[in-house]
């Protein structure tokens, strides 16, 4: 072996301790003979950990990394030992992380191997290493970024550094903003100036407020932009804050999207909705007006009949007019219920019948009571039911009591499975002969038919005892079963 047999001279030792460069001296077996202090600092290894070891034992290749530069470094060394020529190579070679056994740290190196000669014989290798990791990765990042901008040329891509007022933009971004293409770093100002003044201020404020935000902070904002002599457009900016080092200024990377169409559609939709609301409001106003007119007119008809009845000469005429007034009132007052509930198609008939009974009570000498469940039915049926109830109660007062003034009529309105059961009963003299062919009787029959109802008659049955039964006769009871379910 032609190893470095002689110990290092003092000069060499001082140089190795003081140089800022990383040197390693190997013998022909690639065993570490000497190392510079800078080399130890660079690799994180101590002199003791390296001296006397084969360099590939000192820096074992990463077993999990088949693309590692081990082979190239070995070949370079063997070449130097073989023909004595200096060799330089750039290589990725992971070195062990001395603080975490088993782990490797990736590095890029520029390594120069020079032969050490003694008496014309190659006795070893002087290795000079430079860590070029950051140089390589920076260049690679730049390449990736450039490639990205090229690949995304039809996407409005941008990189924006607010604190420096600079940007890197894709062609599409320039196109969107009506600006000439600007490869490389350019001023962001022409782009910012395209935004409408009030939006521009908000944009600047938004990015300024994120200056100290952590990397990865998302940005998603929308502003109005205008190219001179063109329509205002909406641009949506979506991106992320990028920062390699916390001390670096914030940079934002993202894309611009023209969302004008979506915005215009929204605006059109909003105005359509506003127009619809206006029409609905107008419709409601008209409906209110018509409703008011109908009710007022019905009130006038009802009032005319009342006045006629009041002015009539003769009991027969007065009684007929009162009957007519009562019928009109029964029909007309259903309209009041319609509006009160705010529903045009249904009426709460139970409460309505109670009110109707109060009114009938007021126009007769006897007593009318009403018990009713809460029941909803269509407006048509409510009118029929109102008329029917009006006639049944009027009938009772017309025929049941003779000269009595304390006659009682009870109206009950109960919910049943198929609809409702309307009962009108009195404590009068009971059914006398046939019903006859009076107008009231005919109206009752018509309403029963119109409602698809069934009617039963019989003696009164005040089983609940709620109504006084001082009458001399068996009383009379009419039960009408009305289907309400359609």
């Amino acid at each position: 072996m032609t190893d470095l047999q002689t110990p290092l001279d003092l000069t060499t030792r001082v140089i190795l301790e003081t140089t800022q460069h990383s040197y390693l001296i190997l013998d022909r077996d690639l065993v570490v003979q000497a190392v510079s202090t800078a080399y130890c600092r660079m690799t994180g290894a101590t002199e003791q950990e390296l001296l006397g070891l084969n360099v590939f034992e000192a820096f074992p290749p990463n077993p999990d990394d088949p693309d590692d530069g081990f082979q190239r470094v070995l070949l370079s060394m063997q070449g130097v030992l073989a023909d004595g020529r200096t060799d330089t190579l750039e290589v990725r070679y992971a070195i062990p992380d001395r603080t975490q056994p088993g782990r490797y740290v990736n590095h890029w190196w520029r390594i120069t191997h020079a032969p050490l000669m003694q008496d014309g014989v190659i006795t070893g290798i002087l290795q000079n290493s430079m860590d070029i990791t950051s140089e390589v990765t920076t260049a690679r990042d730049a390449n990736i970024r450039e490639a990205l901008v090229d690949n995304l040329s039809d996407i409005a891509f941008w990189e924006f550094c607010p604190s420096e007022g600079t940007a890197i933009v894709s062609e599409a971004q320039s196109r969107m903003f009506g600006l000439p293409p600007t490869p490389g770093v350019t001023s962001a100002e022409p782009f910012i100036n395209r935004y409408l003044p009030e939006d521009r201020a908000r944009l600047i404020e938004t990015f300024a407020s994120l200056e100290d935000a952590p990397a990865g902070t998302p940005v998603d904002v929308e502003y109005r932009m205008q190219i001179p002599d063109e329509d205002i457009r909406w641009v949506r900016l979506r991106g992320d804050l990028v920062r390699e080092d916390p001390r670096d200024p914030a940079r934002f990377v993202g894309i611009s999207m023209d969302v004008t169409t979506a915005r215009r559609r929204e605006e059109a939709l909003a105005s359509t909705i506003a127009e619809r609301d206006r029409l609905l409001e107008q419709k409601q106003l008209l409906l209110d007006e018509v409703n008011h007119r109908i009710k007022n007119s019905l009130q006038i008809v009802s009032s005319i009949l009342n006045l006629d009845a009041h002015a009539a000469v003769g009991d027969e005429a007065r009684s007929r007019l009162q009957g007519a007034a009562s019928r009109v009132r029964a029909v007309a007052s259903v309209h009041e219920m319609i509006y009160k509930t705010g529903q045009v198609t249904t009426v709460e008939i139970g409460g309505y019948l109670a009110d109707l009974c109060d009114t009938l009570q007021a126009s007769t000498q006897g007593k009318v009571t009403c018990r009713s469940d809460t029941l909803h039915c269509s407006t048509d049926k409510a009118i029929s039911l109102a008329l029917l109830t009006n006639e049944l109660v009027a009938n009772a007062f017309g025929h049941a009591f003779g000269d009595r003034v304390d006659g009682c009529v009870e109206v009950t309105c109960e919910a049943t499975d198929e609809g409702m059961a309307l009962t009108v009963q009195d404590d009068g003299i009971g059914k006398q002969g046939s019903s006859g062919k009076g107008l009231g009787t005919r109206i009752i029959a018509s309403m029963v038919m119109q409602l698809g109802a069934t009617m039963q008659e019989g003696p009164a049955d005040f089983s609940d005892g709620k109504t006084s039964q001082g009458g001399p006769g068996p009383g009379h009871r009419v039960l009408v079963r009305v289907p309400l379910k359609d």
Binding site: N291, I300, S303, N306, M337, Y339, G342, D358, T359
Partner: protein, 136 residues
Amino acid sequence: MSSDSAPKPDSDASLDVLIVEDEVLIAMDLEIQIEEAGHSVVGMAVDVDSCQAAARTARPDVVLMDLRLRGGDCGEDAARWLREELDVPCIFLSGNIDEARVARLNSLSPVAIIGKPLLSGRLTAALAKVCHGDTV
């Protein structure tokens, strides 16, 4: 209601009623119904001005107030004046009673709000309430 305009506590008492209704046939009908219920009609008015004039002279216990009056006048305004100047309550009559309107009218502490076409039982009941000193 305040004590100085408080009506008689007796439910059979006769009230002095002012009718404010621009539809004269309806007003006449109301007059009959009120009188048949045992009360007196002390005046008829068709708009805010005639209402104020009649109320000042007749000093009614209660006013039967239509909400739409002659010349586009609003019964609500007349009612507010009656409440503020004379502390006289109203029974409102209207063809249109929606929730928003009821809420506004309730701020005037009316005796009742009755829909048109009116069932006389409701009017009688409202007048009876005045006799008892109730408002809604």
